[in-house]
Amino acid sequence: MSTTVRKAIPFVSGLIFGLGLILSGMTDPQRILAFLDVFGAWNPSMALVMGGAIAVTLPAYTWVRLRGHSVAGVSVTLPDRKTITPRLLVGSALFGVGWGLSGVCPGPSILIAANGLLAGVWAPVLFLLSVIAGMLLYAAWSRRGSNVSVPGSAQTSGL
């Protein structure tokens, strides 16, 4: 694979990812909230988004994990942490509250903010700025906390 093609891959991947999010309806907070509203007028269609995506990522990840490198020959180090840490549990729970309140997760937050900028609608822009502020808060907090916690724990990104 030529260098030019390889350098274009993240860009093309982002483009297809974005088109997929828009087509699937994931950018619509009302659709997400209807999916999460299992005790109300439940709309299960969003489960198909996750199901469809995993149907592709499962064989892809399995293949790469078995080979240890990508098609382009790039070595791949997949996260191999096994420990269920308090950070994982608390972080996921906090995200769940924010997602349940807004109906917006990080990917769609970028898309609807870009759309809001172009359409002159400011609520989605404010939302993305708040997400960014939350991430910067975490960065500042984990830098401070890294003095007392296990060395390197702030650097690991085990999925």
Binding site: I22, I54, L89, G100, V104, I112, N115, S130
Partner: protein
């Protein structure tokens, strides 16, 4: 609605697999955005984010719409945004990183994370829509 959800999901899965096969990277959006904010090296992250934004441009130029109405006041917008940003970084991932890539990688951590944020989000919606709003 259901067909579009499935087609969109397949596209997302294809995009994540392309990034894995071609660049050896994980398509976790909170990780991409957070790492860019922490100024970590990796120009591919800017390219990926640029691709996401271009998707919006293309859809709008083609006459399509990107539905994304937030029907709430600014304090709730700011509060929920802060929780999404802080929580996904603390928990090392969001719907894409844990939900699509991590689950595809058969990661126990990602399975646990996904179950927690989905369950907590469902409980949050239940509290807001059915307890606080009175049904």
């Amino acid at each position: 609605m259901y067909l579009h959800a499935l087609e969109g999901g397949l596209l997302i899965g294809f995009a994540a697999s392309l990034l894995l096969f071609g660049s050896g990277q994980i398509a976790g959006i909170s990780g991409v955005l957070g790492s860019v904010l922490e100024r970590r090296p990796g120009a591919w992250r800017w390219a990926f984010l640029g691709g996401l934004v271009l998707a919006v441009l293309i859809v709008r130029l083609a006459g399509g719409a990107v539905p994304g109405q937030l029907a709430m006041g600014w304090p709730l917008i700011v509060g929920s945004g802060l929780l999404v940003g802080f929580g996904t970084r603390l928990g090392s991932g969001c719907t894409s990183g844990h939900g699509l890539c991590g689950m595809g990688n058969l990661s126990t951590r990602s399975l646990v994370a996904t179950l927690i944020f989905m369950l907590v989000a469902m409980i949050t919606v239940f509290v807001v829509r059915h307890l606080l709003a009175g049904g």
